[in-house]
C-alpha cells in the first residue's frame, strides 16, 4: 500500500506545478492582442455558436473572440467590471432587454450610428437605441419576431373557410379544438417552460390584438375577453407545454403539430424536412394583428478594450454580408435595409415570408419591448407570466387576477415614470387605465 501512495503523492506533486505553470488556458481566443472580446447573450447553444463564429471569421477583417454566456453571468460580468473600473471586454451584444438595465456601463454610440446612417435602420428601431435615455447606447445588431409553425398534418382539421395564413384568434381556437378531438390529444403547444417565451404571446400578441394596447388596457373589458380566450386556448393546448422551452423540439418529435414561438426557436423543426412545414403569421383579433419585435444590439463598454477594432466589428456587422449570413445560419433577421437573397434555405425562406406578411398586414399592431424600464423590464414580464399562471393553470377568475396584477403593474410603472411605448397610445407617463 505504502509505495503506491507515496508514488501517487510524488506524481501529483510533480504534475501539479507543471499544470499550473500558467493562469489557465485561453478558451475563447481573446488573449491574442488585437482580438475583439465579444461578450454576448445570443447563440449560446453549441451549434449556433459554431455557425456564428464561422460567419464572423468569413465576413470580418478583425479577429473576434465570441463569448456567449447566459443572462445572469452577462449582467454580473458587466456590472462588476464597471464597478471595479477594470473592464475586460471590448464589445457587448445582447437583446434589448439584456442591455437596458446596463445602460450606465455603455459609451454613447451616436457618432458610430451617424457613420452607419446609410445602412437603413428603420425608425422604430433607431428610437429604441437610447434605452430610454437621451443618447444612443447601442447599434442595432439583428432582429426577430414570433410566428406560428404548422405541421402540414394539422391542416386537415383546419375549420372550413379559414385561410391558414390569415387566421383569426377564434379560428385558431376552433382549429385547436378540432385537432384535439380528432387526434385524441391536444396537438397545439406554447413554450410555457421556465425559459420559454410564452409570456410574450400574451404581452405582444394576444392583448394588443384584443385590446389595442399592452399596458394601458391591462384590466379593461377587452383584456378580460382576451384572458378568457387564453384560458380556453390553454384547455386545448398540450399540458406538457409547461415543460417546453424551445418549440422546435416538441414539434420535431411530433408531440405537438402547431406552435407559436420565436423564429429562431422554430427553425430547427423545419430544417430537415421543410416541405412538411408551413410558417404562418400569428392570428389576428378584433383590434388587429398584434406582433412583437425582438431586437438585439451591440454596445461598447465604458473603458472597454480594443476600441478601434471593436468599432470596426460593429461596422462589419452592419454590412450586408454579415446581416444575410446571420439570417441564413441562425435565423435572426437583418436590421438594415438589405434585400434578402432568393437562395435562402427552405425553413428560413418560409419564416421570412411569414415575418414579412405579419409585419406588412394592413391591421398589423407592432409591440415593442418595454422601453425605459431598465431592470424593471423583467418584472413587467413577470406580471404577464403570473397572470397566465393564475388564470390558465390555477383557474382563478379572470377579473380578480387582472385586478391584482394590474396593481403590481401600476406600482412598477409608477416607480419608472416612463412614457408609453407602442402599441399603447402616447402619454407622458405610462399607467394602467
Amino acid at each position: 500500500m505504502r509505495p503506491v501512495t507515496r508514488r501517487a503523492v510524488l506524481g501529483g506533486l510533480l504534475a501539479t506545478p507543471l499544470l499550473a505553470a500558467c493562469a489557465g488556458f485561453d478558451t475563447s481566443g481573446a488573449a491574442a492582442p488585437g482580438t475583439v472580446g465579444f461578450l454576448s447573450t445570443q447563440f449560446t447553444p453549441v451549434e449556433e455558436r459554431q455557425r456564428f463564429e464561422k460567419v464572423l471569421r468569413s465576413q470580418l477583417p478583425v479577429p473576434v473572440a465570441y463569448n456567449p454566456v447566459e443572462g445572469g453571468v452577462f449582467t454580473t460580468t458587466i456590472k462588476s467590471q464597471a464597478q471595479a473600473r477594470n473592464v475586460r471586454t471590448a464589445l457587448i451584444g445582447g437583446l434589448y432587454n439584456d442591455l437596458a438595465p446596463l445602460a450606465d456601463a455603455f459609451d454613447d454610440v451616436g457618432g458610430l450610428l451617424g457613420q452607419l446612417s446609410g445602412a437603413g435602420y428603420p425608425d422604430e428601431i433607431l428610437k429604441l437605441t437610447t434605452l430610454g435615455g437621451t443618447t444612443p447606447k447601442f447599434v442595432p445588431w439583428m432582429q426577430a419576431t414570433y410566428i406560428v409553425a404548422v405541421n402540414k398534418q394539422a391542416l386537415q382539421w383546419l375549420p372550413s373557410g379559414a385561410d391558414v395564413r390569415e387566421l383569426t384568434y377564434d379560428q385558431y381556437l376552433a382549429w385547436a379544438r378540432a385537432a384535439q378531438a380528432a387526434a385524441g390529444r391536444p396537438v397545439f403547444g406554447i413554450p410555457a417552460g421556465p425559459k420559454g417565451l410564452f409570456y410574450r404571446f400574451t404581452q405582444g400578441y394576444l392583448l394588443p390584438s384584443f385590446t389595442g394596447g399592452q399596458v394601458t388596457t391591462f384590466r379593461g373589458a377587452d383584456a378580460e375577453a382576451a384572458w378568457t380566450y387564453m384560458a380556453d386556448l390553454w384547455a386545448a393546448t398540450a399540458p406538457a407545454s409547461t415543460n417546453f422551452e424551445y418549440m422546435q423540439e416538441p414539434l420535431a418529435r411530433g408531440e405537438v403539430l402547431v406552435a407559436w414561438d420565436h423564429v429562431a426557436r422554430l427553425v430547427g423543426a423545419a430544417k430537415d424536412k421543410p416541405d412538411d412545414w408551413l410558417m404562418v403569421p400569428a392570428p389576428r383579433g378584433p383590434k388587429g394583428r398584434g406582433y412583437m419585435l425582438v431586437l438585439a444590439g451591440l454596445a461598447l463598454p465604458k473603458g472597454g478594450l480594443e476600441r478601434p477594432a471593436a468599432e470596426q466589428v460593429i461596422r462589419g456587422i452592419a454590412g450586408a454580408g454579415m446581416q444575410v449570413e446571420t439570417l441564413r445560419q441562425n435565423a435572426f433577421f437583418p436590421v438594415t435595409s438589405v434585400p434578402l437573397p432568393p437562395d435562402l434555405p427552405g425553413a428560413i425562406a418560409g419564416e421570412a415570408a411569414a415575418v414579412k406578411a405579419q409585419a406588412e398586414s394592413r391591421d398589423a399592431i407592432l409591440s415593442l419591448p418595454p422601453v425605459g424600464l431598465g431592470s424593471r423590464d423583467a418584472q413587467v414580464g413577470q406580471v404577464f407570466k403570473d397572470s397566465f399562471r393564475e388564470i390558465c393553470l390555477n383557474r382563478r377568475p379572470v377579473r380578480q387576477v387582472l385586478d391584482e396584477q394590474a396593481e403590481r403593474l401600476s406600482a412598477l410603472l409608477a416607480d419608472a415614470k416612463v412614457p408609453c411605448w407602442s402599441p399603447d397610445p402616447a402619454a407622458p407617463v405610462c399607467a394602467v387605465a
Binding site: M1, T5, G12, A15, T16, L19, A20, A23, G24, F25, D26, T27, S28, G29, A30, A31, G37, L39, T44, P45, V46, E47, R49, Q50, E53, A65, Y66, N67, P68, V69, E70, G72, V73, T76, T77, K79, S80, Q81, Q83, A84, N86, R88, T89, K195, E245, Y246, Q248, E249, A252, R253, G254, E255, G268
Partner: protein, 278 residues
C-alpha cells in the same frame, strides 16, 4: 443417527442470495439513468425524436458527441478544469485536514460557532454574492485566472472537507495515537504514521467530494472568468438551450472524467474493509 443440521447453512445461503438480489436492485436504480444518458449521447438525433424510444443501442452515431468535443474552447477548458480541480483538492486538504484534526482532537473555546461559521458560506446561496465576489477578484488582479477559481472553490469545499475529515478523526481510537507517543513519536509523527493512515478513508471521501464539486461548479467559475473558463462554465450553462442530443452529449462528456477520479480514489476509501484494525 440424525442427519447433520443443515438449516444454518441453508439460511446462510439464502441470506447470500438475498444480499445479491438487494445489491442488484440498488445497482439497477443507480445505473439505469446512467445507461440512458450514455445511450442518448451516442444515439443519432432522429432516434431521439422517435416514440417509443428504443432502449437498445440500435441507432448509434457519434456525430453529436464529436461535434460537442470539437466545439470552441472545450479542450482548453478541460485543461483548466483539471488544474482547478487538482489544486482545489491540494489546497483544501492542506488547510482542511489540520483544521479537522484540531476540531476532532483538541479542546478550544467556540467549537460550535466555528462549525457554524464554516457552514455559513455553504448555507447562503452564493448567487447573491456574485457581484461583490467578482469585484474582489477584479481589484486584486486575479480575475479571469484559474487562481481565482481555485481560491473560491477551495473556500467552498473547506466546510465539507473539514467536517468529513473531523468525523473520521473522531473514529480513530485515541489509544493508538497515545501508544505511538509512548514509543517516542512526536505529535506530528504520530499523526503522520498512525492517525493519518487510519483516517485515510475519510480523507479520501472528502477528496472525492471536493474534486467532484469543483469539477461540476458553474456559477463561481463563470462569474470569475471571461476567457479562461472551466469546462462546466464553458458548456454546462448553455446546455439547457441546446438541442436534446447536445444536452446528452454534454452531460455524458462531463461525467466521464469525474468517474475516473472516483475509480482512482475508491480504493483508499474502502481499503480498511477486511483488515482487522487491532
Amino acid at each position: 443417527m440424525t442427519a447433520p443440521d443443515r438449516a444454518p447453512l441453508r439460511r446462510h445461503r439464502r441470506n447470500r442470495v438475498l444480499l445479491q438480489v438487494a445489491c442488484v436492485a440498488v445497482t439497477a436504480f443507480m445505473a439505469v439513468p446512467l445507461y440512458l444518458i450514455t445511450l442518448a449521447a451516442v444515439s443519432s438525433r432522429a432516434s431521439l425524436n422517435a416514440f417509443p424510444l428504443s432502449f437498445l443501442p440500435t441507432n448509434l452515431s457519434l456525430e453529436t458527441l464529436t461535434a460537442f468535443l470539437s466545439s470552441t474552447g472545450v479542450v482548453p477548458s478541460f485543461g483548466n478544469s483539471l488544474i482547478v480541480g487538482l489544486w482545489t483538492l491540494v489546497l483544501s486538504l492542506l488547510i482542511g485536514v489540520p483544521a479537522a484534526y484540531g476540531l476532532a482532537r483538541t479542546a478550544f473555546a467556540g467549537k460550535e460557532p466555528y462549525q457554524l461559521f464554516l457552514l455559513f458560506t455553504r448555507a447562503l446561496p452564493i448567487v447573491v454574492l456574485s457581484v461583490p465576489l467578482a469585484q474582489l477578484f477584479l481589484t486584486t488582479g486575479l480575475y479571469d485566472t484559474t487562481y481565482a477559481v481555485i481560491l473560491l472553490h477551495t473556500a467552498l469545499s473547506l466546510p465539507t472537507t473539514i467536517l468529513i475529515c473531523a468525523s473520521v478523526f473522531l473514529a480513530v481510537p485515541v489509544d493508538v495515537e497515545e501508544a505511538a507517543r509512548v514509543f517516542g513519536c512526536t505529535p506530528a509523527q504520530a499523526f503522520r504514521q498512525v492517525v493519518a493512515p487510519m483516517a485515510l478513508p475519510g480523507i479520501a471521501a472528502a477528496a472525492i467530494f471536493t474534486f467532484v464539486q469543483s469539477w461540476n461548479e458553474v456559477l463561481a467559475a463563470s462569474i470569475l472568468t471571461l476567457n479562461r473558463r472551466t469546462l462546466p462554465a464553458q458548456v454546462l450553462s448553455s446546455l439547457g438551450d441546446s438541442p436534446l442530443a447536445y444536452r446528452f452529449a454534454g452531460g455524458f462528456a462531463l461525467v466521464l472524467p469525474a468517474l475516473l477520479f472516483i475509480a482512482l480514489m475508491r480504493r483508499y476509501l474502502t481499503n480498511m474493509w477486511g483488515s482487522t484494525i487491532r
